[in-house]
């Protein structure tokens, strides 16, 4: 199972803070972040827009990750807009 978190504007736009996806549902064993994005984009235009926006950031297990990052069962993936703290 992979957990996928959404923050801030994305959390509001998608109406969810966290989804859990069973490995069986993903169809492949070791997906990349890009492949996870493609899979989630099937959920609708809004998902495709948020996930593929140029400035969407991704973290895997709380470390910043790029699209080529390979995922494993149990990983925590997060998608979020540029940060605005401080």
């Amino acid at each position: 199972m992979i957990s996928v978190l959404f923050f801030a504007k994305y959390r509001e736009q998608l109406g969810t803070a966290k989804i859990c996806i069973e490995s069986s549902e993903l169809g492949a064993e070791n997906l990349t972040v890009a492949e996870l994005k493609a899979h989630l984009s099937q959920r609708g235009d809004l998902w495709a827009t948020v996930l593929n926006a140029e400035n969407t950031l991704c973290a895997v297990n709380q470390d910043i990750a790029d699209s080529a990052k390979l995922l494993s069962d149990g990983d925590e993936v997060a998608f979020y807009p540029p940060v605005t703290g401080g």
Partner: protein
Amino acid sequence: MHSLVQVSADDFDVGAECDALRAHSRRSGAIAQFVGVMRDSNQGDDVLTMELEHYPGMTERRISEIIERAAARWPLFAATVIHRVGVLLPQDQIVFVGVSAGHRHDAFQACEFIMDFLKTEAPFWKKERTPSGERWVDARDTDQQALARWQLEL
């Protein structure tokens, strides 16, 4: 080096944090500090309240990692970073960065370095409530540009 990272809804006491840095710095002498304060306006609109969301766990990890990078670059005695989350009002304190070092220039540099990277890497997001409604604050190009300095300067 002693370091402290705290992310919480609670306000912080700048005097107490400075005292704590001082206690870790018998041989240091120089403490540089930054306090970020909530403004009462942004982009021409009054801001009534601001809500800070973050990514619990990752926030603390990224801040600790930024402090480690600063400590690798300048000889530091202690560093403290406190960031508030939740609902804030104008003039509330948002963030504290305090650094003690042997030389004041190192303390200033490390303090500003930590702030600049916190601004662009730590997963916090601000939502403002204005008289005309709520809006998420957009990231600013100037914060990305501020990072360029740290590639050029020593």
